[in-house]
């Protein structure tokens, strides 16, 4: 029984068919990486999972419960279980770092303020932002905002974490830190879907890699196979191009 099951799913932005007949199972505790050219629908797949892009057909099952993305109760439930870190971070510009991290746990989940703040501070400390608690997003670099967004997602204590290109805006020495944090989370059993262009990282941490192109899943395989001996020609073209550019 997989934690997430996606069956024959199609989604559109108006007329643009952005997710085409997607079939994908994600096991509990798995780190699944999504790779593919820009515009291939990786972000859209993550957004669909958290209900920002409503599927037109097909089904999604989460922990054995089928999700109805047009139903408010269902949406609320899946959003309690799945947290997303957006490619553009999507921080609240009118709130400082600490408030960004604490607002949902305190105001939405109604958890204890003190307990949430302690957790938030320790998370922010972990991502190297202890001295930025009172800063506003527009005073931070892209990499710093990225890490605030990660802390915000983790402070929700989600079962599943979706990470959209989290390493692309980071300084090299921080990439390692964030990747270490991801490894620890993985060891703790958190399920993760990661969109990343950091091929060595993808290769190292992923249990499986999904290659997407033009809205479709072309290949799902172990990282070793995807990078060294892919079954599909399009996968081969993409990985060899990416590896050559490095």
């Amino acid at each position: 029984m997989s934690q997430i099951e996606i069956k024959s799913l199609n989604a559109y932005y108006d007329k643009l068919h952005v997710l085409k007949d997607i079939n994908l199972n994600v096991e509990k505790g798995e780190i699944l990486s999504l790779i593919g050219p820009s515009g291939s629908g990786k972000s859209s797949l993550l957004k669909m999972l958290v209900g920002l892009l409503t599927p037109k057909s097909g089904e999604v099952t989460l922990n054995n419960n089928q999700v109805n993305y047009t139903n408010k109760t269902d949406l609320r439930k899946i959003r309690e279980q799945i947290a997303i870190v957006f490619q553009q971070y999507n921080l609240f510009q009118n709130m400082n770092v600490l408030k960004n991290v604490c607002i949902a746990p305190t105001k939405i989940q109604k958890r204890n303020q003190k307990e949430v703040e302690d957790q938030a501070v320790s998370l922010l400390e972990k991502v190297g932002l202890k001295d930025k608690l009172k800063s506003y997003p527009d005073e931070l670099s892209g990499g710093q905002q990225q890490r605030v967004a990660i802390a915000r997602a983790l402070c929700l204590n989600p079962e599943i974490l979706l990470l959209d290109e989290v390493t692309s805006a980071l300084d090299p020495e921080l990439v390692q830190e964030v990747l270490d944090a991801i490894r620890i989370l993985a060891a703790e059993g958190m399920t993760m879907l990661i969109v990343s262009h950091e091929m060595s990282f993808v290769k190292e941490v992923s249990s499986r890699v999904v290659f997407m192109d033009n809205g479709s899943i072309i290949e799902i395989n172990e990282p070793k196979i995807i990078f060294e001996n892919p079954k599909e020609k399009r996968t081969l073209d993409f990985v060899s191009k990416i590896l050559k550019d490095k």
Partner: protein, 225 residues
């Protein structure tokens, strides 16, 4: 040349002048909030309305922002009676200024709507904010910060614009200055004093609005200009 400034006579009328200033403020405040109300409706139509409604508002805004306010009020004051609608000078000025403000404040508020960041709303949704919580925590703080400075500016412009009411016989600040002038013929004194009263009114308003804007809405406003 050879004119000696004598303020004593004019100063006797000071309380009378100040009561006129209160009428000016009354017109400015009423027209501003009326303009905000209709401007909000128009901005909503411009953002979410159908094509026909949208076009009507565009025409409205184009008309009112491209003709002099004085002409607009003249129209209300002299043309409407031809259609059997009689407005007192005060009401004609108030209605004219409200309609004019609605056009400008529609555009200002629309710019505020357009500056809402979809990114942040996406984040709020996935964090399970209800619509009310999105408005309270994300939309309003942002909109107030963005809108407060231009709205404050427009309010100041409107305060000065109320002097047009004098032309229609409303006895507000400028109207009363006219009255005192025709009684004393101390033109330089009375109009310099009147200018000073306008400066004080707008200075106080600017100061208070900047304080409110900075401390409540984190708007970037200078307290001393």
């Amino acid at each position: 040349m050879g004119y000696t400034l004598v303020y004593t006579q004019v100063l006797e009328f000071f309380p009378y002048l100040i009561r006129g200033a209160l009428i000016s403020l009354q017109i400015a405040i009423l027209a501003f909030f009326g303009g905000m109300f209709f401007g909000l409706i128009f901005a909503t139509i411009r953002t979410f309305g159908n094509k026909l409604m949208n076009n009507l508002v565009i025409w409205y805004v184009t008309f009112f922002t491209n003709t002099p306010q004085l002409v607009q009020i003249y129209f209300l004051f002299f043309a409407l009676p031809e259609f059997g609608i009689l407005l007192s000078p005060f009401v004609a000025v108030l209605v004219g200024m409200t309609l004019n403000a609605a056009a400008y404040l529609c555009e200002i508020q629309r710019a505020g709507f357009l500056s809402i960041r979809q990114n942040e709303l996406d984040a709020a949704k996935t964090l399970n904010f209800t619509l009310t919580q999105q408005v309270k925590y994300v939309i309003l703080p942002h909109i107030m910060k963005v809108l407060f400075p231009p709205l404050s500016n427009h309010y100041i412009i409107m305060t000065l614009g109320t002097s047009m009411a004098a032309i229609f016989g409303v006895e507000e600040l400028t109207g009363r200055a006219f009255n005192i002038n025709s009684e004393t013929f101390r033109s330089v004194e009375i109009f310099s004093l009147t200018a000073l009263v306008y400066i004080v009114i707008t200075f106080i308003a600017t100061f208070l609005l900047a304080l409110i804007g900075r401390y409540f809405f984190k708007a970037k406003m200078r307290i001393i200009q």
